[in-house]
Structure formats: C-alpha cells, structure tokens
Symmetry: C2
Subunit: 342 residues, 2 copies
Amino acid sequence: MATLADVARRAGVSTATVSRIINNSPKPVAEALRERVLAAVAELQFVPNANAQQLARADRSAVGVIVHDVSDPYFAEITRGLQRVATDHGRLVIICNSYRDPERELAYVDLLHAHQTAAIVLAGSGYHDAPITARLDAKLRIYESTGGRVAVIGRHEHAGDAVVPENEPGGYLAGDALYRLGHTAIGVIAGPRHLTTTTDRLAGLRRAAKEHGHRLTARQIAYADFDRNGGGAAAAALLAANPGLTALAALNDSMAIGALACLRERGIDVPGEMSLIGFDDMPISVDVTPPLSTVRLPLEEIGVRAMSMALREGERDGPLVEHATARLVLRGSTAAPRDRPG
Amino acid sequence: MATLADVARRAGVSTATVSRIINNSPKPVAEALRERVLAAVAELQFVPNANAQQLARADRSAVGVIVHDVSDPYFAEITRGLQRVATDHGRLVIICNSYRDPERELAYVDLLHAHQTAAIVLAGSGYHDAPITARLDAKLRIYESTGGRVAVIGRHEHAGDAVVPENEPGGYLAGDALYRLGHTAIGVIAGPRHLTTTTDRLAGLRRAAKEHGHRLTARQIAYADFDRNGGGAAAAALLAANPGLTALAALNDSMAIGALACLRERGIDVPGEMSLIGFDDMPISVDVTPPLSTVRLPLEEIGVRAMSMALREGERDGPLVEHATARLVLRGSTAAPRDRPG
DNA sequence: CCCCCTCAGGTAAGCGCTTTCCTGGCAGGC
DNA sequence: GCCTGCCAGGAAAGCGCTTACCTGAGGGGG
C-alpha cells in the first residue's frame, strides 16, 4: 500500500506538502508542485489511510446508528430519514443491527465509541430489564462525557436527546376507534412483553377500554414476536381462546399482516366478520387486502429529527425531548361489527 | 478522553502491560497486576481508540457493503444474509447506501478502502455506462491490489468474486409462464433503462416471446423507477398504450405491487381480466391480494454466499463466479386469459 | 544597499495504540 | 556459591497521518 511518504518521495516534496494538497488546506501551494503531487498520487494509486487521518486529526466525523434490524420496514423508514440528514451534513453513517439482543446493543455502543463517532443514534424499543438499562445508560453517559452526542428514538429512559413516538396515545387512538365502531370483544396482538413499546401501546389500548367501560383481560392479549409470523401465531391463539371476538388490534403492522393472513386462511372475512387495526403505517400497509387501518407514525420524519438533534451544533442545556405524533388512519380493515343473532 | 497511557499511569505499570491485558495477549501477566489494571480501566472508563488500534495493528477486520438502498426489501434481504455471515466471523459490517447514484458508489469504494476494510461487497445492478463502469472497476482493482477482497452481486462486469442472480433465465421463466397460460398481449413493466438488471431480465422475457412466436414491441414496454410508484406509473402507461393487454410482467415485485394498486383502482380484476407476474419474491409478496406470482431469487442466500466468498481465507486463483437460481413461483395473480368476444 | 517582512515549503512532534526487543530478578544446576 | 536460563514487565520504535513551528529566499522600503 502506498503511503503519504511514498507520494512525497515520488514527487520530491515533503509529506506536509502532500498532506496540504490532498486535504485542500488553506495554506497556498505553488501550482507546479500541486500538479507534481497529484500526478504522483495518481501513479501510486494512493488512498489515504482513514484511521491514521482520524488519529492525527482532532475531529470526529462519522455517526453511528444502532437499530434492531434495518430490514424491518419500521427501521428501514427511520433509517432513511437518519441517512438523509447525515448525508446532507457530509457524514458517513455506520449502521449496526442489534437484532433485538441487548448485549449486542451494549457492545455496539462501545464499538461506536471506540471508533470515535461524533454521535450515536439509538433506535427501537427499550427493554424492561433494569440491569441492562442501567448498563446501557452508563455507557451512553461515558460516551457523552467524552464529547459524543447521543439521540435516542422511543426510549425515554436514557441520557441524551430523544424523539419519542406517541405510543401510548397511539394505542389509545386504535382502541378508541374500535370501541367507537361498536366492538366490545377485542383481542390484542402484542409484541414481546419485555419491550417498552409493547407495554406503552398496550397501556393506550387499556385506557381506551376503560374509558368506554370495558377492560382487557389477560385472555384477550397474546404476546409474540413483533413480526409477521408472530402476528399470525398470536391471532390464532386469540381466536382459539376467545370465540366471540369481533376485532383485533395488533401492536404493529407486521403483526397485523400476519394476522390478516391467518384470518384469510380460515376464511374469516375482514372487516365483515373481524375488524383489524395495526400500528406504524408501514408503506406496504396500503397494499394488502383490505388495506390496513392503522395508527400512523411519521417514521422517516422521526429519523430526520433524531439525526438533526444528534448533529446540532453548540452547547445545549439539558437534553431535548420531542414527541412524534400518532395519527389514526382508517382504511378498509375496520368496520362496525356485524349484527349477530342473540 | 482517557488513554492507554492514563490507565498505565493510574495502575502504575507500563502501557505495554495494559495493552496486553486489554487484548488478552498470550503473554502471561501476574494476576495482581491484571486486577489493578482492570480496576484502573473501570475507574477511568477507558475505551480504546479503535483508530489507533487499527493503525498499530496490521490486520483489517471490518467489511464494507455497498447497496442501492437497504430499506428496499430486495437489499434488506440480501443484507440480512451478508450480516449473518459477517457476524459469524466476528466482523463488523459497514453498510453504505448509494441510492443508485454511481458517483456515490465510487466515493464509497474509496471510503471503504481508506478505512482499511478487509473486504467490499458491492450489491445491486450495474449501469450501462462505460466510463463509470471502467472507473469503478479500476478502483476495485486498486483496492484488491492492496490486499482487499471484493465480491459483487449481480454485476458480471467487475473484478473480484461474484454471485450472479439468474436474471435472464428468470425473465424467461416469467415470460414462458405467461405465454403458456395463453397470453399473447403482454405488457412489460421495466426498471430504469440504464440498469443491467433491467436489460437482463428483459432479454429473458424477449427470448420467451420469440420461442413462443411473438415479440415485444417498444410500445409494450414501459420503463420507470424500480419501486412501487414506478410500477403504478408504468402500468398506467401500458394500459393507455395497449388496449388489448391481458397480462403484465413486472421486472421486480415492488413495481408489481404498484401495478396491482393501479389495477385495483381502475377496477380491473386480477387475475380475471389481467394476469400479473413479478420478480424477486420479496417476503411481502404473499400478503397482497391476490398473492403475487413471481420469479423467486434466493435473496438472503445470495447475501450469505457473497459474504462467504469475500471472507474466504487463502489465496485464490482467479475470481469465483457463482449463480443464484431463479425459480418460478405461481400464486394467485396469474391465470389463463378470459375468453373474449372476437 | 541593507534590513526586515512575507510567505512557500520543510521539519518534526505528536495522535493512541501494538509489539519487538531488552532488562533485571529469580530459581535451579553444577 | 556462581553461572545459566527463564520469564514477567518495561522501553521504545513504529503505524500513517496532521500541523505548529521553523527556515530560507525574495522583494520592497528606508
């Protein structure tokens, strides 16, 4: 591998000069020299060693992003927003998938810290696990104390700036919509118990139930993985345990789509025999049949705002917390319950 | 920021000893010292500077991945495979989105080269643009000449190992299926003209047409972006230009889903009045109504194989080229054309 | 005509770590 | 009891850059 010194030797100048030319330093350099150096760079196919540059320079330029899984549309949308802002600022973004493993998340915080990233954006639900949360928080604080910026998405419990999606209010919106339509026997397709997103959204649903004079019993809630298969399994369990159900509320759209497939398989008409509502409004949700009623979260915008916070200049007094509004989107998968004999 | 030297001072040992302890060097260290050092590390919240480590060490550990857009399910699936293998090998992966901008792709190759990544995996269609292709190839070769490994996905034109999805054969499969069903007036929803994936898949479709005694005229082909909106627009254009169409072949599933939405909007029954076939078999394709007939590409497996190639040890004589088999998957969106009067 | 200022370019001191090579102390063998 | 060998730990030389500081030459003013 060619080094700066090789280029300098080849061009018959000092390494300082080569460095200045390569980095477009403000220090003026004679045109003749510049050309000689550029020629040497081309001939030797010199590519500067970024690690050495980072070490020698003071500034940090890249930013790190830790998500559960980029291939999940929820995170894909958020990531798109994060990327856009980072790119506009000329920053490289390093994406890390924790695959919902808290230990891996901790490891990635260290890794991004070690790589001297300027900021870390942590997206995705928190865990109901005090030791983990404390450790994560400690690491984040250490990172911040060395000058790194932290922005979290959907995790109220941590240091740093935060953009918090309205999970509880969104859950309320979904529940309220269903009760208003006249449903009383509602099943909930919930994500994993240990995720705060699950409990937050569920809390909203419960509040709506209460307000309408109902309550959600344990039997009406099925917990499963936050994906298509989890949704299918949960729907099946709910159907088996609660014969009279007229509506299903899924805590995210992936699960709702899994539930839809399960319902279709059993020949249960949606929304004729069963209403279904999701959460998040992933892009694909309009394309299933019937198009999914859901609670919309401005995913890409959440990413944009989080990255903007992480990259904002200047000192700040205390962390910023912004909320991302949940909005009800009624499409074809919800309707009033069909009148039943009895 | 605490440094190795700070820790050494604090523990009253040399930096060499600290380094050995931190890296679990094989060199034995007295237990008492080890404990003192570990205590100092904890107190000072020391996190080693990865750039300095990389510079001082000889080895390269991270691997880079350049895709068009991770949030596109096609790349999301491939990336999942890439990630899995990299993680199994204990490698960090740096994901870069080119957003289909060739210049950005070039810049990312340099960036990954500069960061001393052990390998670069380049996924996504190539461009019909000789200068760009030549420049990219040159950069890749330079990178390889410095010891980096290159693996490309779906780009026959470059240096390095390759896994090549069967785009042409897949196109043939789609076309053949439609003609066999009895369709003769077929419209093609194509991706951007300048992408090799578009022309390859189209070539397969053309071969099928020819074999069945037909041909695809320019009027029967609409080019648009490789996404949902592109598919909708192309479908609309095709319908307007070709009144007698009985089937639509989309060059990827996203476009097919857009077309489906367009058809639904116009009240055209699929597959009753119009058959539709996609390409790729994204996970979501089974969840639209009707479920999409398509040509399946083993996306995740492609990622697995590409990363395995990039990470494989030892010298190799000449680049490896593997093919990923396309397979026809008939679901509900295709049927024989309805008999028409006349 | 000389001095001083200016400025292009070079010298060299790090940046934070790893690792080779060396040192000094101890145990064992003769 | 002395020499040799062994081993834990330290000193220091880089890794490939950036940049503060220095140098020397040339030009302008007194």
